[in-house]
């Protein structure tokens, strides 16, 4: 059905939403804590690296037509490898969604409802994502296309208002915590582009396969510019972050916005808009887990799969005991998981598949 195919803008927004979610939560803080005042340089550096990496991935995808990573893994290692890839992808998505939703709900508790029951909060989010997945499949993507520009706009509003109190000297000393942390250890910060996992999956859904490169590079540039803006605004506003304090990063910036004497605490409104962000994020993850599982395991009853996925996310998000564990999971475990899945495992499969395909094509040419 042509309707279910993603056009260029829809695909970009699908990837950008993942990035924005993590920017709101913790990425800028982590990067500032690691690199200090050289975070700016570090981000430009990792953006260049990721763009080059992505161009390389596009080249690897080129001989396969419109096949996504699951089909390619089947081609490389048969059904076993396909199942293995699906399980890795599903567990990655489920893990990160449960950590993200737990983190956001904890912060929502702090900001909105100090004495609320966390169980109900998380349950409400997950149930909404399940309900939304019951509608027709294109509707989540359409809602995403409508809401992401609004969310991006709010982020720009935050940055614009923080310019007033910014001071450029807070970018100094220029090398921050040193060359090692900026450029060598700093390479690990490419995990911030973990949203690229969707690139491996959506290629089969694109209306126009040639758009993949354009989509990928545009979304990388979008994500990088937002990361850059958020890091810059935080660095210039809060010098204490360099010493490292783990809080809801962009929310701190919103607390400093003053619209004259009129609106006292405008951060509440930003939190309201971010609720949409997290609902979208969760819905998209559940949608993709459902899709991957259906494709791999030929599941007939999609509803049960949906409920099962939601249940796993719910239980996983409740296993965490306190904020410290959440931050550890998000900043350390997720970091290495993302690096493994997005930047090591998937490219490895693609490389093997590419080599295999080229050999076959050469053989076919020789035979002719």
């Amino acid at each position: 059905m042509n309707e279910e195919k993603l056009n260029y803008l829809e695909a970009i927004f699908l990837i950008v939403i993942v990035m924005i979610t993590h920017i709101i939560l913790e990425f800028p803080n982590v990067i500032i804590k690691d690199c200090g005042t050289s975070s700016f340089i570090n981000i430009i550096f990792i953006t260049i690296l990721v763009s080059l990496f992505f161009i390389f991935i596009c080249k690897l995808f080129s001989p396969f037509g419109g096949n996504n990573i699951l089909a390619i893994s089947e081609y490389v290692g048969g059904k076993k490898l396909k199942k293995c890839t699906s399980i890795i992808y599903c567990s990655y998505l489920l893990f990160i969604s449960s950590v993200v939703i737990r983190n956001f709900c904890e912060n929502l508790k702090i900001v909105y409802f100090p004495n609320a029951n966390l169980l109900m909060l998380i349950g409400a989010f997950i149930l909404t994502a399940v309900i939304v997945n019951k509608f027709s499949s294109g509707s989540i993507v359409k809602a995403n296309t409508l809401l992401v520009p609004l969310i991006l706009l709010t982020m720009i509003v935050v940055f614009v208002f923080s310019i007033k109190q910014a001071s450029i000297s807070r970018f100094l000393p220029i090398l921050g915590n040193g060359l090692n942390k900026t450029f060598l250890k700093g390479i690990l910060n490419i995990y911030s582009f973990g949203g690229l996992i969707y690139m491996y999956l959506i290629i089969s859904d694109l209306k126009n396969i040639q758009d993949l490169k354009k989509v990928g590079l545009t979304s990388i540039i979008f994500s990088a510019s937002y990361l850059l803006l958020s890091v810059s605004s935080l660095l210039t506003l809060f010098p204490f972050l360099v010493k490292g304090s783990n809080v809801l990063s962009v929310y701190l910036s919103t607390r400093t916005i003053r619209l004259g004497k009129f609106l006292p605490r405008i951060d509440t409104i930003f939190m309201f808009i971010w609720i949409f962000n997290f609902l979208l994020y969760l819905s998209i993850i559940i949608y993709y887990v459902k899709k991957i599982a259906t494709e791999t395991f030929s599941v007939k009853n999609k509803s049960s799969l949906l409920y099962f996925t939601a249940f796993i996310i719910f239980v996983a998000s409740l296993l965490v005991q306190n904020s410290l564990q959440t931050y550890f999971l998000e900043n350390t475990v997720y970091k290495y998981f993302a690096l493994l899945v997005v930047f090591i495992y998937s490219p490895a499969i693609l490389i093997i598949g590419y080599v295999k395909k080229n050999k076959e094509l050469k053989k076919a040419k020789v035979e002719i």
């Binding site: 100090p114 609320a116 309900i131 000297s169 000393p173 040193g178 010098p239 607390r255 400093t256």
Partner: protein, 386 residues
């Protein structure tokens, strides 16, 4: 469709359960008492004395059209060990839940500030309710006295009085608006030391009405109060740190000993250059001032080429000596870099480690200053001179 209906009903049930589980801790706007100012002082037995100024709203009169805003306030004081404990104590007898979202100013007494206030500032900035841009004020008199006498001259509403202080600051330049976030940032900032607004009984007015004023700044170093700037020194501080907005400066007239010339200074830009020689900072300031003449005397004609240059030269030397005295006061007496020279000095260092090792704020007390002032007199207002 049926499953969608069931799921939506389940969601509604969850939200209802959410409400029920939360019901005891929901405080609507009717259930809350709004604090508009918070005061901290030394209590008995080295405890903390917490004073809260709470807004009282008059219940609506017959037609509901009377002014129902914060026309009067209630001041409540308790002895406690921490701010949160104090708020808890006051909650027990006030009848409503205290809400700090509308707190406009945090007043800390001088005696408490000398012991160090970063714990209180950290507690307050960690509080979700307290707005990061409420003012921080150090009071020379008792906090309780300050809060009780902070009545506006021209306003009926105490909350608005605190907000309107900004206007005075913008016009006179005798103090600076320092918010909680500014103070907290400056405390952790390696480029500068924090300052806070200085408050006291009204000393400029001859009416002896006992009301309070905000004049000058309190200087901190390593979290403790180390000194004060009076209202003139505040002007030099604002000029040097590029935060100057507006003031009227009166200098003795170079033409006559008994006369004074008032200059309306609207813009001051300072360029700072720092050299570090043998670990000692040498600070050069180039101050550019743009002014207009406000006062006029009958026989004066300020707007001739010679007179202008004479007034400018006199203003330059006046400002230079005052600013230099001020800068040496900050370095020798206070040892606190409140003008953010560190943000210039950091350009000499490549990594955070080098900068931390140099310890700018510690080395500031041995600085040397070189001040150059360049005043440009643009014109006067209506009468150019006869």
């Amino acid at each position: 469709m049926k499953s969608k209906k069931i799921l939506i009903i389940m969601l509604l049930i969850i939200l209802i359960l959410f409400y029920i589980s939360n019901i005891r801790s929901i405080y609507t706007i009717d259930d809350m008492a709004y604090v508009i100012a918070l005061g901290l002082d030394n209590g008995d037995n080295n405890n903390l004395e917490l004073t809260l100024q709470i807004a009282l709203h008059s219940s609506s009169d017959s037609k509901g059209s009377s002014s129902s805003q914060s026309s009067s306030t209630l001041t409540s004081t308790v002895d406690c060990n921490s701010i949160s404990e104090g708020i808890n104590y006051i909650n027990s007898y006030i009848g409503k839940k205290l809400n700090l979202s509308y707190c406009k100013v945090i007043v800390i007494s001088e005696k408490l500030a000398e012991k160090g206030i970063n714990d209180y500032i950290s507690t307050l900035i960690n509080d979700i309710e307290v707005r990061p841009y409420c003012d921080v004020l150090i009071s020379k008199c008792d906090t309780k006295y300050f809060l009780q006498n902070s009545e506006p001259y021209l306003e009926k509403l105490s909350a608005k009085y605190y907000e309107n202080e900004e206007i005075s600051e913008k016009i006179t330049g005798f103090t600076q608006e320092i918010s909680l976030l500014d103070f907290y940032n400056d405390y952790y900032d390696t480029f500068k030391d924090p300052v806070a607004i200085l408050g006291d009984q009204n000393s400029l007015s001859k009416d002896n009405d006992g009301k309070t004023e905000k004049l000058g700044l309190a200087v901190f170093h390593n979290g403790n109060l180390v000194g004060e700037l009076d209202y003139n020194e505040t002007l030099w501080h604002l000029m040097v740190s590029n935060k100057f907005k507006n003031t009227v400066l009166t200098i003795p007239s170079p033409f006559s000993d008994s006369e004074y010339i008032s200059l309306q200074i609207s813009s001051v830009k300072t360029k700072k250059k720092i050299n570090i020689i043998n670990n000692t900072p040498l600070i050069n300031c180039d101050v550019s001032v743009s002014a207009r003449i406000l006062s006029a005397t009958m026989n004066s004609n300020y707007m001739t080429k010679e007179n202008i240059s004479e007034i400018e030269d006199f203003a330059n030397s006046y400002l230079k000596s005052n600013i230099t005295d001020y800068l040496y006061k900050t370095s020798l007496v206070f040892g606190a870099d409140i003008d953010s020279f560190g943000s210039e000095a950091v350009k000499k260092f490549a990594t955070q480690e080098d900068w931390d090792n140099y310890n700018w704020l510690g080395n500031y007390s041995s600085s040397f200053f070189n001040v150059d002032v360049n005043t440009k007199l643009r014109s006067s207002y209506l009468i150019l001179g006869i």
